[in-house]
Amino acid sequence: MTTSTAPQTLYEKLWQTHLVEEKSGETPLLYVDRHLIHEVTSPQAFANLRFHNRPVRHPERTIATMDHNISTRSIKIDAAGEGAANQLRALEKNCKDFGIELFGMGHKNQGIAHVMGPELGLTLPGTIIVCGDSHTATHGAFGALAFGIGTSEVEHVFATQTLRQTKAKTMKIEVKGHVGQGISAKDIILAIIGETGSAGATGYVVEYCGEAIEALSMEERMTVCNMSIEFGAKAGLVAPDQTTFDYVEGREYAPKDDVWQQAVNDWKQLKSDDDAVFDSVITLEAKDIKAQVTWGTNPGQVISVDGIVPSPDDFNDPIEKESCVNALAYMDLEAGTKITDISVNKVFIGSCTNSRIEDLRAAASVVRSYTAKGQSVQSSIDAIVVPGSYRVKEQAESEGLDKAFTEAGFEWRLPGCSMCLGMNDDVLEEGDRCASTSNRNFEGRQGRGSRTHLVSPEMAAAAAIAGHFVDLNA
């Protein structure tokens, strides 16, 4: 690690330790430690490598998984349709030809890239991690600089193990104090996005800090960092601490023995210096954060579950006002409606935001509290639970969580991205209204003409049974 006298932010430290070359007139060149790939954004990058007859420079630094396209009903490649099967087979062939390790259909390590990386110890503090997927920010929870890239950049990483990046501005988001009982990491990040607006951090790398963030488990920190892109941030970071080291230690790909000791010593330096200066600072009081539900068509259009759907008159900014008008029309909501009066007909528990074991435990515990009273999923509602990886699935099944869900009327599916983006057959129909634990409520995201409300796993589970949003903390 470099030592520098000027106080630095965590981002600046990560930048400095990865700077391969900075030359006037050229965009700085950064080293990439870990590259995660999947079937959808890699084929054209491999094709270009072939065209130029270039090898993958460090195949061992790239790991492939199948996640975006795959069926959640069958481990057969063909089960997700012809287009998907072509991409999945192309990934198999590309990985074989270029010597890249692949966790294919049904492999014990297969899972959504951002669930799989951390749980295998592929995600390490102090590294740069990239993936052709904007939710790569998830890995920032470990104090890694992690961000999504386009396919041209995937090719650049394959061929050179580096990337050209313009330095971002820095933003500190401090969440002071402690959240109340029953408030999840998803509520924290949705409340933050509600505060900043959906483009509030464009051009920034965000560092989350404060007591409320330090108190979070690694999985909760991942949920927070995951949605950094939803307010425009290039990446989200949490400084690594004992919670981080305890999580990483002993995982399959994590450093061992002496190397582990050396790593932890280095990682302990990874925090913003006390007097480091950020370009922007936002402070939230944790005690003010309530359970959140999005009402509109971007994640910044969010409100507390005990609130009402806002009216265009509540906004001064003309663009926000118009966005509100459009969102209410698309979402078929009337201003003034109580959030708890909004009924849903679909429920999706899954995605790289909320499909880890703690998410499933939290959802299952809400489900059990209802089943204890003899209540189960409403007959008018289709509710699916999609674990983020095979490891999560196995763990959940060993704890009987799958039974808790299926006995209450949820479907228990195979791992994958599933209804988060609906590239497979897990899509909403026109007019469907879904309580979803995913990260995007854009128009058409889960299916053309469908309506998405982003919520925590607890809120989604309760909505499936109550039929509408419920203030579980009331």
């Binding site: 965009t27 396919t151 892109i229 609906g422």
Partner: protein, 203 residues
């Protein structure tokens, strides 16, 4: 990548903020292993009334006959937010756009555009507003001069208007020269290897 020097083209105004890459190219069209075939699906859900893309929506601005020959897209703030899919700039490029103008872009989208030679131009809110006014009724033909970092047009009353824009030095160089950025970096292998030799063993 083709070299970009100057471009003159008809501007189509897309008066919507926060256009995300899911809208630019919906997920069902991402199941390709080639880099072509995306242009016809550009803005699919707004552009077509039906799921299969056979019935154009006459209300959508790109379907209006007067904008048929457009090559410059004028957009609102935070254009290209959301998913990192490079398929979005591919679709815009294949449709025929050479330039996208907006008050702000999402970071990943911006970089993706540069990497494929599609020029993203940031102008101030006020300049954007003037362009929106002029672009109504297919009335705005704009000249983009990358070398001089400016865009210019002639108003109905004959006045010449010109706005300057900023672009990173290296981005500009890559666009002007059509640089193969992978090849460029591969020329620096020695520097990269020197860096690697100093990395800690856990990294």
């Amino acid at each position: 990548m083709e070299k970009f020097t100057t471009h003159t083209g008809l501007v189509v105004p897309l008066d919507v903020a926060n256009v995300d890459t899911d809208q630019i190219i919906p997920k069902q069209f991402l199941q390709k292993t080639e880099r072509v075939g995306f242009g016809v699906h550009l803005f699919h859900d707004s552009r077509y009334l039906d799921h299969s893309g056979k019935e154009p929506n006459p209300e959508f601005v790109l379907n209006k006959p007067e904008y048929k020959d457009t090559s410059i897209l004028l957009a609102r703030e935070n254009f290209g937010c959301g998913s990192s899919r490079e398929h979005a700039p591919w679709a815009l490029e294949e449709f025929g756009f050479k330039v996208i103008i907006a008050p702000s872009f999402a970071d990943i989208f911006y970089g993706n555009c540069i990497n494929i030679g599609l020029l993203p131009i940031k102008l101030s809110e006020d300049e954007i507003e003037q362009l929106f006014v002029q672009a109504q009724g297919a009335n705005l033909t704009l000249t983009v001069d990358l070398g001089n970092n400016n865009v210019s047009f002639t108003k109905d009353d004959g006045t010449e208007i010109s706005f300057t824009f900023e672009l990173g030095k290296f981005h500009k160089y890559c666009l002007e020269e059509g640089v193969d950025s992978v090849g460029w970096t591969l020329n620096k292998l020695e520097t990269i290897e020197a860096f690697e030799s100093k990395m800690p063993s856990w990294q």
